[in-house]
């Protein structure tokens, strides 16, 4: 048995193991401990030095070396006297190929070894898989695909928190690529950098499963135009701030002019004595800024909302290029489609297929300041109707705790900001209280998946999208060629 460490002390959830000399344990590394009634899988969450020599003596030794008085000195049996202590915690216990929660301490002084494929037999492939990456032990990717039950995960919302450059977009591309031809879900992707369409169209079945809309359509994309008539006053909730008087005016205008309400407001028509001119003027200016004619149009495109929601309910993946829109216009587009989708779902007697909405900078609509809107409603009650969010953000701490707790799968990428890590740890589905350093130390493409649908917080390595897509294309059956 190749042991890399040995349990020397500690307590439940904070076991101390001595690292074998010559081995190098990493934060996040997965270890196994063979017990009489199964295998305990454990994870390293912290490392520290250990020595048999008193600290004062060590400091003196250092002084001798630094001050040039350490000639003809040495450490005898250095490997016995100085070592690394790893703090490890139990993840799960594997018994007869099934994972159960760990409720016991491994045997004192037991040896720890690196995990093997056979230890992971409990990680079976769900019927409706959502691929997230490969299992990772420390910084080493293991050839074991991590797939959760996609239908459950998507309807119970996903949070992708990370600081810039840690691979959020790459992760979402990989997820969407894998989901593209899955008929159990539709996905609405708000694409502020026009990158998802370019990536997903590489999929062999993109023609069948991918629908793309853009204000400036290119090959394969459909023109993104939304008729004013599709807009409702509540679509603006969370999109831009309105005073109470302005909100009342919006509703009055809609009640008064029905489908022409936007046109009439923009034209400066009067609502009578009930609304002051100054309110109307401000509304006219605000709406004019957001409805600048590039996407929202007075004439045509009457069916786009139905088309998009129809695609989503047909399990298609719909990408909306919002790269040339301002933040508010982007949110309004998302709000229009999401409201329509959510309403259709509420009216229908089914929650299948599940539909997920990918939204970047999610605190724009999920923070306290954004107020009530369709996205916060979905976060709270969307799962009942098979509608979920994939919320991407750098600042998860801006999302209220109650909403964060409802985002039941968190794919946590690297984050240097302590406040952000704390918000994530406090709302995670597993106890990540010892994973603060592990999260801070996550490299690009590394993540920890905390989900109510996994037995433990799973460390993953996310493949580079380009490589992943190439490998998938290479292994896909060749398309039929018609001559």
């Amino acid at each position: 048995m190749e042991f890399v460490g040995q349990i020397v002390s500690g307590a439940f959830g904070e076991i101390l193991a001595r690292q074998k000399s010559g081995e190098e344990l990493e934060i996040g590394e997965l270890l196994a401990c063979d017990e009489p009634n199964g295998i305990q899988l454990l994870q390293v969450y912290d490392l520290e030095y250990g020595s048999q020599i008193q600290p004062e003596t060590i400091e003196l030794m250092s002084g001798l070396r630094l001050e040039g008085k350490g000639e003809k000195t040495s450490f005898f049996e250095e490997e016995l006297r100085h070592y690394v202590l790893a703090k490890v915690k139990g993840l799960v216990t594997v018994r007869g190929g099934k994972a159960v929660s760990t409720k016991t301490l491994p045997k004192f002084f037991n040896g720890l070894r690196r995990i093997r494929d056979a230890d992971l037999s409990f990680l079976d492939k769900p019927e409706k898989p959502l691929f997230l990456g490969r299992l990772r032990s420390g910084s080493k990717a293991i050839d074991k695909r991590i797939e959760l039950d996609g239908e459950k995960v998507l309807s119970h919302h996903v949070l992708v928190p990370a600081t810039t450059g840690r691979g959020k977009s790459n992760l979402v591309k990989v997820m969407l690529y894998e989901l593209l031809d899955k008929d159990y879900c539709g996905v609405l992707v708000m694409d502020p950098h026009n990158e998802y369409h370019k990536s997903l169209k590489k999929h062999a079945k993109a023609g069948e499963w991918l629908k793309s809309y853009s204000p400036n359509p290119e090959g394969g994309q459909v023109s993104l135009r939304v008729n004013y008539a599709a807009l409702k006053p509540w679509h603006f909730n969370g999109v831009m701030p309105f005073s109470e008087a302005q909100q009342q005016t919006l509703h009055l205008a809609y009640k008064t002019w029905e489908k022409d309400w936007i046109t009439r407001l923009l034209a400066g028509d009067s609502l009578g004595d009930k609304v002051q001119d100054v309110t109307l003027n401000v509304l006219q200016r605000k709406l004019g800024l957001i409805l600048d004619g590039r996407v929202f149009v007075k004439n045509g495109s009457e069916t786009i909302v139905d088309d998009v929601t129809g695609h989503l309910l047909d399990s298609k993946k719909v990408v909306i290029d919002t790269s040339r829109l301002g933040s508010e216009a982007e949110l309004l587009v998302a709000s229009v489609f999401t409201n329509a989708l959510f309403n259709r779902r509420k009216a229908a007697q089914t929650d299948k297929p599940v539909v997920s909405i990918v939204l970047e900078e999610a605190p724009r609509v999920l923070s306290e300041a954004a107020g009530a809107n369709v996205f916060s409603s979905i976060a709270r009650e969307g799962r009942k109707f098979g509608v979920g969010l994939i919320a991407i953000t750098q600042l998860a701490s801006l999302i209220p705790r109650e909403v964060l707790a409802n985002l039941n799968t968190k794919i946590i990428l690297g984050n240097e900001m302590k406040q952000e890590r704390e918000a994530l740890i406090a709302s995670a589905s597993q106890d990540l209280s010892t994973d603060d350093k592990a999260i801070a130390a996550l490299d690009k493409g590394e993540a920890i998946v905390s989900s109510v649908f996994s037995r433990f917080a799973v460390p993953i390595s996310i493949p580079l999208f380009e490589e992943h897509a190439s490998a998938a294309a290479a292994s896909a059956p060749a398309r039929k060629a018609f001559v």
């Binding site: 001798l64 450490f75 005898f76």
Partner: protein
């Protein structure tokens, strides 16, 4: 009137000459010609040490946990190590003529059984009794440890004891002579502490260190005396084993043997940074042989379970006669 603490500062006292109260040690006057320098050199050494701690202590019953350990190094490489662990159970038993005997049996726990015979001592034995009092049963724990240390040194190569080669307990010389006869190489001992003095009252080791001045270490000074004490078959020296060491040590080698046949190897081990100037083999032996209080307490728990609560209460009652100090320490 307040005490003048300045009086405690060492005076510039003359070195004087080595002083031994026992006339069987004839001191040799200090002479710088008796310094010998040498070079550290890797070599084979076996360091031996022991430790003991009380598990049960009453006026008529003692149980001591004893551990004896040895290691053999060749230069910086450990060749072997061995540990022997046993309990020494001592009772007070009446003997003929109104005498009382301390009778000890040993119970092996780990490693080789070093002491084959039970031990029996008159409780008035002067080598055990302290301050004219009768010896306590607990004294036999240390006796058994000393005997076992000698046994552990048998068949070793260049054995080095922690302490001195002096035997101090009745029949200990039987064990020491057997160890000298059966071991290979040169038998020696290095003492961390020394209570030898000079005629002017200076500690002898520190007087030698002063005499050495800035002499480059490693060096050895001696012999300090001509020793004809039959129970202490040793030549006595003072040695400094590393140039940056703060300590010099009393060093003894089996009478008539060449100190320089083992000192280079000791100096080589003394380059370890944990205790510069003290051989690593002895550091290791000290650590491994030590019996911490906590370990004795654990053993006490095991014995309590084995003995049963009723009998244990009796023992506790008996121990009240000797453990009031322990209670006071905890107050």
């Amino acid at each position: 009137m307040a005490f003048d603490f300045a009086k405690l500062s060492p005076k510039k006292t003359a070195l004087g000459a080595p002083h031994f109260s026992d006339p069987r040690y004839s001191p040799l006057a200090f002479d710088e010609a008796r310094f010998q320098s040498f070079e550290a050199e890797a070599g084979r050494l076996t360091c031996v040490d022991g430790g003991n701690a009380s598990v049960i202590n009453t006026p008529n019953l003692s149980v001591q946990l004893v551990r004896v350990y040895r290691n053999e190094f060749d230069g910086g490489e450990r060749k072997t190590s061995e540990e022997s662990e046993f309990l020494v159970i001592t009772r007070v038993e009446p003997a003929s003529g109104g005498q009382m005997l301390l009778k000890a049996e040993t119970m092996p726990l780990n490693g080789p059984k070093l002491l084959q015979e039970d031990l029996a001592f008159d409780w008035a034995d002067a080598t055990l009794a302290q301050g004219g009092f009768k010896a306590s049963p607990s004294a036999l724990g240390a006796v058994a440890r000393r005997f076992a240390e000698w046994k552990m040194a048998c068949r070793c190569f260049n054995p080095v004891r922690d302490g001195t080669l002096q035997t101090s307990v009745t029949n200990e010389s039987i064990f020491s002579r057997k160890a000298y006869a059966e071991s290979k190489g040169v038998f020696s001992a290095l003492a961390k502490t020394s209570s030898l003095y000079t005629t002017t009252g200076l500690p002898l080791v520190s007087a030698v260190a002063r005499l050495a001045g800035k002499r480059a270490a490693p060096w050895v000074y001696g012999p300090l005396c001509v020793n004809s004490q039959p129970d202490h078959e040793a030549d006595l020296f003072v040695a400094k084993l590393h140039e940056n060491a703060t300590h010099c040590f009393r060093f003894e080698v089996k009478r008539g043997c060449d100190a320089l046949s083992v000192l280079p190897a000791l100096a080589f081990q003394a380059s370890d940074l944990a205790f510069l100037g003290y051989p690593y083999g002895l550091v290791d032996a000290d650590k491994r042989a030590r019996v911490p209080f906590e370990e004795a307490r654990q053993m006490q728990g095991v014995m309590r379970q084995e003995i049963g609560e009723g009998a244990w209460r009796e023992i506790e009652l008996d121990s009240c006669a000797v453990d009031a100090h322990d209670f006071l320490d905890r107050v």
